[in-house]
């Protein structure tokens, strides 16, 4: 079977990602327990603490994970790109069940039993150790079980901050429309959740839960240590290459990384990060040495400046503004990934739509699909509608970048906002509308580098500059299609592209 063969081929990587996933879950659940147990006990001692603490822990759970990462990444010590941020987020999510169950577990201990214990001359700490905790143990263990099982699920978001884990496959699968990749992440995660649930359930039901819990904790610590060791020592002087979470960015990240490796650099890939802001924060704080940004995005989205349609002016303005941030903007790679309004070809032909202005008569019924960012951006929806002078009758549907084209192809929406280099445009026989009023600013792809990183890695700037002008729109669309349409791995596609560059250079 196709899927099984796919799993077999990738079993090494699947195992490594599962290992990372297990480490994330164990470490975060362990920390949540280490924090939640004493806090829960303190709450049971001083009920006045209970309401605010439970309130805060409950509130933390309601924060969407990507928003939480947004808060965490700029913070010193706990933030940044990588496992640390993911673990902090997972701990915050796991805290509530541990806290609540410790608190209620202790409070539900029979008062008569407690009075007997006090009357026999137990000190408060003896009473806690010998009576309250043992009697609260089943409830506390149930809380830990919830925390651990939930963590297995939430740990998939760790991939958004480059912490690895099985979410890496899920995100990559969504970005490249590859169901096998999604399943390669989701199935081991589901099995892991069942295993966790089963193991902790067995501890709860065991005759001596305290001993079983201690045994399991020791075993878990051992597994975490082994898995941690297996994931290898953190490479110290590697160049850290990042990317956002869509196909083109991942491919560009792989191209940069492989290109640098060819030139003798050691490279740490932090691809598929949460989005523009995550990458920008990360490169500004030095968590990343380089990622590829688009000049228009930098101008309007990051620098919050007004839209401009002259590519040279935009590049100069971004370079000037990035300097004080400690960032260097490299030479453009050669393609302009501007926004594209995309329709199904037969429908566009039937209605005679070729340019964006042709949409005006249909604007009232048009069902538009787009990724959420586009509604907020200065060069996004509001300006587009203003420039072309029409209004949408139907609220646009926000969807993940990877789901836009399938939704269009399936007829769930009539028009999507994508980008000019999307590989699926050709693959699904879609048509790009002409921006006849030149609304969209230029989106030239440029490497954005951290100055301190350049200083740490001599030759990095020259190595990246040698890619200038080497990737045109046609190449980029082809590369994107190789991943999105042919389901090939971004790293293979990148290696092949670089090999092609070398051959053409020699001729």
């Amino acid at each position: 079977m196709n899927l099984l063969r796919f799993f077999a081929e990738r079993r090494g990587e699947i195992l490594a990602l599962t290992g990372q996933h297990v480490v994330l879950v164990l470490v975060s659940t362990g920390i949540a327990a280490a924090l939640g147990l004493p806090l829960g006990i303190a709450m049971a001692r001083r009920p006045r603490l209970a309401r605010p603490l439970l309130g805060v822990a409950g509130l933390l759970q309601t924060i969407p994970s990507l928003a939480l990462f947004g808060f965490l990444i700029p913070l010193p010590f706990v933030g940044g790109i990588g496992a640390r941020t993911a673990i902090v987020a997972l701990v915050l999510y796991a805290l509530l069940p541990v806290l609540r169950n410790t608190y209620t577990g202790i409070l539900q201990v029979d008062r008569a039993v407690l009075e007997a214990a006090t009357g026999m001359g137990m000190t408060p700490s003896e009473r806690l150790r010998l009576v309250e905790l043992p009697l609260a143990l089943p409830v506390i263990l149930a809380g830990l079980r919830i925390a651990a099982v939930v963590s297995v699920g939430t740990a998939t978001i760790a991939a958004a901050v480059g912490a690895g884990g099985l979410g890496t496959y899920v995100f990559r699968g969504i970005a490249t429309l590859d169901t096998r990749l999604i399943l390669a992440g989701a199935i081991p995660a589901a099995l892991l959740a069942l295993l966790t649930d089963g193991l902790l359930g067995a501890v709860e039901k065991s005759r001596r839960p305290a001993r079983a819990a201690a045994l399991l904790a020791a075993g878990a610590a051992l597994v975490a240590a082994l898995a941690f060791a297996a994931t290898g020592p953190t490479r110290q002087k590697a160049v850290v290459v990042g990317s956002k979470n869509f196909t083109e960015q991942v491919v560009l990240g792989e191209i940069l990384a492989a290109h640098l490796e060819d030139r003798g650099f050691r490279v740490d890939r932090r691809l598929n990060l949460g989005g523009t802001n995550v990458c920008h924060e990360a490169v500004t704080t030095g968590q990343l040495d380089v990622y590829v940004e688009y000049t228009g995005t930098a101008l309007t989205d990051i620098l919050k400046r007004p839209v401009n349609s002259d590519p040279a002016v935009v590049l100069r303005e971004v370079q000037a503004a990035y300097g004080p941030l400690g960032l260097r903007v490299g030479a453009p790679l050669g393609f302009n990934n501007t926004f594209a309004l995309v329709m199904r070809r037969p429908e566009a032909a039937r209605r005679g739509i070729a340019r964006i202005s042709d949409l005006a008569p249909y604007a009232a019924q048009l069902r538009v699909g787009l990724f959420g960012e586009f509604l907020e951006r200065k060069d996004g929806m509001p300006g587009l509608l203003q420039t072309y002078g029409f209004r949408l009758g139907v609220r646009p549907r926000e969807m993940d970048m990877g789901l836009i084209y399938p939704a269009l192809a399936a007829g769930q929406v009539d028009l999507v906002v994508g980008s000019a280099t999307d590989g699926l445009i050709a693959a699904l026989d879609l048509v790009v509308l002409e921006d006849d009023r030149h609304y969209f600013p230029p989106y030239d792809a440029v490497p954005v580098m951290n100055e301190a990183g350049l200083a740490r890695h001599p030759g990095l700037l020259a190595a990246l500059d040698s890619l200038a002008g080497r990737i045109d729109e046609a190449s980029m669309r082809r590369l994107n299609y190789a991943v999105d349409g042919e389901h090939r791995s971004p790293s293979d596609v990148a290696r092949e592209f670089l090999a092609g560059l070398r051959t053409s250079a020699r001729q």
Partner: protein, 246 residues
């Protein structure tokens, strides 16, 4: 004549609601004697008992144990020196019978083999087969067995004073009668100074050296069982005793 083992002088306690739990209680228990506090529920008898091991601190008055004011005792040492038996035995449900009985010796830091020997000795003394019951959780025992284990636990560190709060209250009449007899036999040998709380008139009369009948936070009559039976004070005591005895 040495000082009484337990003494209360004009002890008062007011509930937060403002009602008097204890409205000036004076009592004493001589060494090796059994004082029974007899009264209806709400009479203040359990509150009075708890002032002895400081589960309740009085608002006024003085409580002494072995001649020393309870406030001058280290509260933990005081409690470990007093055996405490409560209704339903108050056994810790997550510990075995042996662990329950050995609890105070363990808190006192006895070596393990001495704890084990003491558990064996006490279970035997109370007519329980150590080999059969020692490793069982309390939930697997009968009510009578649990009550015996509770008594064994109170006696484990050989305290001079025992406080017993409705110790036989949860037992069926036949078992209760048998355990009461066992207790009387045991007391005949061990000679502890005992304060026992009950609402059961026959039990009070059977077990007490002296009975103090309590009503609404006061001691309304003190006397030997015989005095209480044959010369109950007019009013509450007479009604209470008459209602309980045929």
């Amino acid at each position: 004549m040495s000082a009484p083992a337990v003494e209360m002088v004009d002890v008062r306690k007011r509930y937060p609601s403002g009602a008097d739990a204890l409205a000036g209680v004076s009592l004493s228990v001589d060494e090796g004697r059994v004082l029974v506090l007899l009264g209806t529920s709400g009479s203040g008898k359990t509150t009075a008992l708890k002032t002895v091991n400081r589960l309740v601190d009085p608002d006024a008055g003085r409580v002494t144990v072995l001649g020393r004011d309870v406030r001058d005792w280290d509260v933990i040492a005081l409690r470990r020196g007093i055996g405490y038996v409560i209704q339903e035995a108050g056994l810790l449900p997550h510990m075995t019978v042996a662990q329950n009985v050995a609890l105070v010796p363990r808190l006192l830091g006895w070596p393990e083999d001495r704890q084990r020997a003491r558990v064996h000795e006490l279970l035997t003394l109370l007519g329980l087969e150590p080999d059969r019951v020692a490793s069982l959780p309390p939930a697997q025992l009968s009510g009578g067995q649990r009550q015996r284990v509770g008594l064994a636990r109170a006696l484990a560190a050989d305290p001079p004073v025992l406080l017993m709060d409705e110790p036989f209250g949860a037992l069926d009449p036949l078992t209760r009668r048998r355990v009461q007899d066992e207790f009387r036999d045991l007391q005949g040998r061990l000679r502890k100074s005992v304060v026992l709380v009950t609402h059961d008139v026959p039990e009070a009369l059977r077990l007490a050296d002296e009975v103090a009948v309590m009503d609404r936070g006061r001691v309304v009559q003190r006397g030997t069982p015989r005095e209480i039976r044959e010369a109950p004070q007019a009013g509450f005591v007479r009604d209470f005793v008459a209602a309980a005895l045929p």
